[in-house]
């Protein structure tokens, strides 16, 4: 036994050294390009290989299902109900017209079939409504070897299980430590870098350094997530004095946008690590941080934002008007605050490809730490970013209409469903005013303005 001990420690030492060397090489291979903003194209190759493996896995599952004479679950991207987007009035008129109703003109009338119209509509929303499904992760067409996205687990063969096991090993034992190391590096560099830049006197040199410290650190964070981003129309990138608005899916959105542009962040002051980062960042360049108490005061918020955009030397503000994370299949109501300020709005559409890792943060289900762990144990985060041409508020539209116009543009570009519903419905129930509107509309239809009919 004594003879084995020194032999053992030799093996352990060799293992330790080789791992360290490997690790360092990888870190250098990844961090150095991040600093200079170049890419070797390794991630794209990685993506292609993974896609081939996923396709194979799905085929095997389909074969497994066929053997058992079962059906594989295929997700419905547009829901299960055929809905036509007509208004309440139009649909009721249609129903009445199709029947043999005596009243051929538009006299207000009640028909028994109206009850069924409402019942049908109601039942449809119970089975498949537009809002509930926006707050849970998007479903995938083919399996991506993550157990968290498998809907047909009973059809996995031995070979597939082995492959999945290998995947787990790679993701948790190779990728995760690497990514954590990168994230740690990125965040520390950001804090240290911005603090040091903060000591410099204000001027062009300080701005130059600040910009590059920010960019470099965000790029390292991008690699910490293995985020593969495709930017489109970079000529439309936001300029000073403008506001950049984008759809919100996760806190990662900030990293994705800030690694390609220099923005002033807006947000609430946090405690803990977040707070440390915020305090450091604001030393290098003016970000807009609000105290908790100030956030409630809409006038104060608007005032500070207005002051910021009016100063042309200050950076474009980055804002997510939805106010909460949505699952990236739709864009929900934009809060009008940012659109009242009167600055040029630069819309940005972000669409994630959930195939390699779903970036959506379901905040009612996972805390921040669990979420980040899930992100760092996915294969990759793949997304496309479109910089849309700048928009300004027209004379005849108000802030809400302007917000909706921008929202539609973003939805159209990203291929997302454009909803009028408020993202706040994730946590709060819908207001009664909507119901009252519907009732008013229907009342007009059955009673109208004919006062004399009530007496017959």
């Amino acid at each position: 036994m004594f003879l084995l001990l020194p032999f053992d420690s030799l093996i352990v030492n060799l293992l330790g050294i080789s791992l360290t060397v490997l690790f360092t090489l990888l870190l250098v291979f990844i961090i150095v390009p991040a600093v200079f903003g170049v890419s070797f194209g390794i991630r794209k190759l990685y993506m292609k290989t993974l896609l081939k493996i996923f396709a194979w896995a799905t085929l095997r599952m389909e074969r497994g299902a066929k053997e058992k004479n079962h059906q594989l679950y295929k997700p419905y991207t547009n829901g299960i109900i055929a809905k036509d987007p007509t208004s309440l009035e139009e649909e009721i008129k249609e129903i009445r017209r199709s029947g043999s109703s005596k009243a051929l003109d538009n006299t207000p009338e009640f028909e028994l079939s109206d009850i069924f119209y409402f019942c049908r509509k109601g039942m449809e929303t119970i089975m498949d409504d537009e809002v509930t499904k926006r707050f849970s992760a998007e479903e995938l067409e083919s399996w991506n070897l993550l157990s968290r996205t498998n809907y047909n687990f009973q059809y996995i063969s031995l070979r597939l299980t082995v492959l999945w096991g290998l995947g787990v090993l790679i993701r948790y034992c190779l990728l995760l430590p690497l990514r954590i190391a990168l994230a740690f590096t990125g965040i520390s560099l950001l804090v240290v870098g911005t603090t040091m830049v903060g000591y410099l006197p204000n001027g062009r040199f300080k701005e130059f350094l600040s910009k590059h410290v920010h960019l470099m650190c965000y790029r390292i964070c991008v690699r910490a997530l293995t985020a593969i981003i495709t930017y489109h129309d970079r000529k439309n990138r936001p300029r000073n004095g403008g506001i950049c608005v984008a759809n919100h899916t996760s806190p990662i959105d900030v990293i994705i946008l800030a690694s390609d542009g220099y923005y002033a962040m807006v947000g609430q002051v946090h405690g803990g690590l977040m707070g440390v980062i915020q305090r450091a960042m604001v030393k290098a360049c003016p970000h807009v941080w609000f105290e908790r108490s100030e956030v409630k005061d809409r006038h104060l918020v608007a005032k500070r934002l207005t002051e910021h955009v009016q100063d042309k030397s200050k950076l474009p503000i980055l804002i997510f008007p939805e106010g909460t994370c949505i699952n990236n299949t739709s864009v929900m109501m934009f809060k009008k605050g940012s659109f009242e300020i009167g600055a040029t709005v630069y819309p940005v559409a972000i669409k994630y490809d959930p195939q390699f890792g779903d970036a959506f943060w379901n905040s009612s289900k996972y805390g921040m730490v669990t979420y980040l762990l899930r992100m760092m144990t996915s294969w990759a985060i793949v997304c496309s970013v479109w910089y849309l041409p700048p928009m300004t508020r027209q004379a005849e539209e108000d802030a809400v209409q302007f917000a909706n116009r921008v929202k539609s543009a973003i939805a159209r570009q990203g291929g997302l469903v454009d909803l009028l519903w408020d993202g706040g419905l994730k946590r709060e129930k819908v207001k009664d005013t909507f119901k009252e509107e519907q009732q008013k509309l229907y009342s007009k239809m059955i009673v109208g303005n004919h006062e004399d009919r009530s007496r017959s």
């Binding site: 059906q71 679950y73 295929k74 419905y76 547009n78 829901g79 299960i80 109900i81 055929a82 249609e94 129903i95 009445r96 199709s98 029947g99 043999s100 009640f110 028909e111 028994l112 079939s113 109206d114 009850i115 069924f116 119209y117 409402f118 019942c119 049908r120 109601g122 039942m123 929303t125 119970i126 089975m127 498949d128 409504d129 537009e130 809002v131 509930t132 499904k133 707050f135 992760a137 479903e139 968290r148 996205t149 809907y151 687990f153 819908v430 909507f434 119901k435 009252e436 519907q438 009732q439 008013k440 229907y442 009342s443 007009k444 059955i446 009673v447 009919r453 009530s454 007496r455 017959s456």
Partner: protein
Amino acid sequence: NVTRVSLLLRHSQMTEIKMETCFSHNQIIYLYSQFTSLDKGENGTLSWEDFQWIPELVIKSLGDWLISAFFQEGKDQAGFRESAKSTNCTLLFDYGLDKNDKIFHNELFQVLRMMAGVNVTDEQLGGITDRTIQEADLERDGAISFEEFVEALEKADVKQKVSISFLE
């Protein structure tokens, strides 16, 4: 979340639901996903409260009336199997109606009140209720029976328009 579906929806339950309703295998899984998303308490059943979280339903007139169709006599929780039956396409006409029930003036008035809200006076609503019952009541007993109901709808030839159309 569909991930848990295969684990929670047992094969036997699935076969039963397929027999009792007209939904396909995939549609049942989709509905179960919706069911579990609404089941905030994660106890396998839906309560009245859970339905209030569907914004599009809550703002619709008759939303409450529809929800009550999910809860059987005296119960305040609805399991998935009962819920699937309640939404079944062919039973669209049986909203809380027993074939022996009749719709009296009072009930129709209440339904109309739900649909129109506070924007119509009692007088106007009463008038409309009277007229509707007059038109449909063939037996002249002051109430609409199930057969008269179906008759009125057939006359209006609207069966097509009031049934739910599913995709694919």
